[in-house]
């Protein structure tokens, strides 16, 4: 009986008793979710256009952030470093297309997934070789990112909103809007959607697959950079961040592999779900359940919708 009480009554009583903490927990969850969603967004872009499950997205995020900070450390002004980093991400996209995707065209999905594992290892070694392995602070001030916090005195307590987190949400929103515009209105965007629908049909109407791949990997690289700046500002930039990036997997699976709104909604569900779960139910199990809760949430959804919330229906034929 007391177990049932601890599971079903006590957490809600706590929520009611301290609504400010509940609000804070939800806010933290949303912010974490936005960042997961941004990583997932990079995955979705690449998966849609090339069918590659890009495991290296997490490492691209760290690599981009590390390049930015590393260049700045070597004396390059912040905004120039940002430009250079974007150039590096373009070079990376070009390199990946030439050296990895093109030779592996038409291979089964799992081979391409494996190739991105290889890319992950390569980037970890390369990044540390060039910029060193010690954690670096993100150059928030130089990039005009807001600092400090807003304290809201509501709900009988204080809810602290970090300005940085608000900026992150705004950037995420802008990025999704920008991508939406890009997909709907531009020529390359349309070509991209055509490729996503049917590779061969797209080829036959004269769309260059190679060009499209470079464009999506570059777009994913830019998304990775933005994510890296935000995560890096919350905690330092180091390869330890790559573990956080794994959380994007349940987000992605939950939202559906091919859906941009899915990535966002999935991110928010996972973010809020794991925070509330850890905060209110975690103590029952000794804490730390955040590590696996996200995967179980995703799994629970999957049992009802095996293709994810917004994924394309899987039709199997013989």
């Amino acid at each position: 009986m007391s177990v049932l009480y601890a599971i079903f009554v006590d957490p809600f009583a706590q929520m009611a008793a301290a609504p400010d903490l509940l609000a804070q927990a939800i806010w933290e969850g949303l912010v974490g979710g936005v960042l997961y969603a941004l990583i997932a967004l990079g995955f979705v872009l690449i998966y849609k256009a090339s069918g590659v499950f890009n495991f290296a997205q997490g490492i691209m995020m760290v690599f981009a952030a590390l390049t930015l900070v590393g260049l700045h450390e070597k004396g390059v002004p912040a905004w120039v470093a940002l430009g250079l980093t974007i150039a590096v991400m373009y070079a990376l996209a070009l390199g990946v297309e030439r050296l990895v995707l093109r030779p592996l065209v038409n291979q089964p999905d799992i081979m391409l997934l494996m190739a991105t594992f290889g890319l992950t290892y390569f980037l970890v070694g390369f990044g540390e070789l060039v910029f060193g392995g010690n954690p670096k602070s993100m150059i928030t001030k130089e990039l005009w990112l807001p600092q400090g916090a807003i304290d809201l005195h509501i709900l009988g307590g204080t809810v602290t909103l970090q300005k940085l987190d608000i900026a992150a949400a705004a950037i995420a929103l802008a990025m999704v809007a920008g991508l939406g515009f890009f997909f709907q209105k531009t020529r390359i965007g349309r070509a991209l959607r055509a490729v996503a629908d049917d590779h061969q049909a797209a080829l036959s109407v004269g769309i260059s697959l190679e060009q499209i791949w470079v464009v999506v990997w570059f777009a994913a690289g830019v998304v990775a950079l933005a994510t890296g700046i935000m995560w890096g500002a919350r905690s330092d930039v180091s390869f330890a961040l790559q573990v956080v990036a794994l959380k994007a997997l349940p987000v992605l699976i939950l939202g559906g592999l091919t859906s941009i709104p899915g990535a966002i909604v999935g991110g928010l569900i996972i973010g809020v779900g794991e925070k509330l779960g850890e905060f209110y139910w975690g103590p029952l199990l000794g804490g730390g359940i955040e590590r696996w809760l996200a995967y179980f949430i995703a799994l629970a959804f999957l049992l009802f919708r095996p293709q994810g919330l917004f994924g394309e229906r899987i039709i199997e034929r013989i």
Partner: protein, 437 residues
């Protein structure tokens, strides 16, 4: 299936190649297990450079120890137990006189091997606390303080001199949820029961080091009077940042000795007031450090980045190397040999006696406090002080606080006994003792 044979042949060849660059007879081989890569590199790089530079300085200034050059060799572990064991097997044929695992996990794997391979283990301020018991662990040394002593010193500091004064308070324990952070847990729990304070636990999983926000929600809810941190690698910097964000009063946030200067500085002005326990002086204002600067860093023989020299982690590394050097020097004095072996160094470490005179002689007066090890006590349970971050450097804010030995010792005895019991067939000490006192 010839390929396999070829592969194995290659393996053999590689193994031979590894063993080949044997070091000259008249040098002492000191391997340093370091980690400059991976998620923990942030803690590892400073330590690695400090260790390396002090030993290099001895080679440059004095021609080694007692006239014998030290062959210093770094092996990269990445803070990974498997790679650490690989390093151990790689250095073993070269007759190392000591190993510094620099990871609690690697230390635990090596402890049973030490008596068999006759290589002493020096785990400075980490590893198995119970290893302080020289009678049970003759081959393992963990000076100058165990995590349990450190915990008691922090508690005494918070209680204004006595742990009992904490009665009725709430104390949070934010720790790295692996062998390292969990080590101090039984001690805190025992004290919470005895002294009557409320202990709240905030474990941070290695995977969530940089994603601690839910722990800090817990901290906001529980509003502990004091927060104690046992963190490692990227966790320290992230925790200090989160503390700033959560408006946690910094002067009530005390850490064990691992956060480095960059961990505190990266959180900006908000980190002012953050405290940590330390057992050696801060900065680089000591004669030995001047020698390091002149002979190693300015000579381009160090890998230390600008700003790393004299930082907390670098200083930890120097202290660690000072212990190695003193162990070897003591072994030379005891045996009269110039080129000592692992067995000699084990005896040497048991006879380390760093008094004020000796500290002055090696140019570290004011940096380290006197330290004396014996056969029974492989730790010395030193006193430590609290230092506070003022936004740019660490400032000493307390006197040296001796550990609550009456509380630590029984637990250590019990833990050492339990270890020997759980590992059935643990060898009883047969090594002779040079300083029965």
């Amino acid at each position: 299936m010839n390929k396999k044979i070829i592969l194995r042949g290659l393996g053999c060849a590689l193994a031979l190649a590894l063993a080949a660059p044997a070091f000259a007879e008249d040098s002492i081989y000191v391997p340093l297990f370091t980690y400059r890569t991976g998620p923990f590199a942030g803690s590892g790089i400073g330590i690695a450079d400090g260790m390396h530079d002090y030993l290099t300085m001895l080679n440059e200034r004095d021609g080694g120890i007692g006239g014998v050059k030290l062959a210093v060799d770094e092996c990269e572990t990445g803070y990974d137990t498997k790679k650490g064991l690989e390093c151990y097997d790689a250095v073993k044929p070269k007759n190392p006189v000591i190993v510094n695992p620099w990871s609690t996990g690697i230390t635990l794997s090596l402890i049973p091997k030490a008596p068999v391979d006759k290589i002493p283990i020096l785990s400075m301020g980490y590893g198995l606390s119970a290893a302080a018991k020289g009678e049970v662990f003759p081959w393992v040394f963990n000076p100058p303080i165990t995590y349990w002593d450190g915990a008691s010193e922090i508690l005494k500091y918070l209680g204004g001199g006595s742990i009992e004064a904490l009665k009725g308070k709430t104390i949070g324990y934010l720790y790295f949820d692996a062998a390292f952070g969990r080590e101090a847990l039984p001690f805190f729990q025992a004290q919470a029961k005895d002294a009557g304070f409320d202990l709240k636990l905030y474990p941070v999983a290695p995977a969530d080091m940089q994603n601690q926000s839910s722990k800090w929600l817990d901290i906001r809810r529980d509003k502990p009077d004091f927060l104690i941190m046992y963190g490692w690698g990227a966790m320290n910097a992230a925790a200090i940042k989160e503390a700033v964000k959560a408006n946690f009063p910094m002067e009530k946030f005390v850490s064990i000795w691992w956060p480095g200067d960059s961990d505190a500085s990266s959180a900006g002005d908000g980190a002012k007031g953050f405290k940590e326990l330390n057992w050696h002086g801060a900065g680089a204002d000591y004669p030995a450090f001047a020698d390091i600067k002149k002979l190693v860093i300015d000579a381009g023989k160090s890998r230390a980045a600008a700003g790393e020299f004299g930082g907390t982690l670098y200083d930890h590394g120097v202290y660690n190397s000072m212990l190695i050097a003193e162990g070897i020097a003591a072994a030379q004095k005891l045996t009269g040999k110039k080129v000592v072996t692992g067995e000699d160094v084990r005896r040497g470490l048991e006879n380390i006696d760093l008094d004020a005179v000796r500290l002055k002689a090696i140019g570290l007066e004011g940096f380290a406090s006197p330290l004396k090890l014996s056969c029974a006590d492989h730790n010395s349970h030193s006193a430590a002080f609290v230092q506070q971050w003022d936004g740019a450097k660490w400032v000493k804010v307390s006197d040296r606080i001796p550990p609550a030995s009456e509380k630590v010792q029984p637990l250590l005895d019990e833990a050492a006994k339990a270890y020997a019991e759980k590992n059935a067939g643990w060898p009883a000490r047969t090594e002779a003792c040079d300083n029965k006192s």
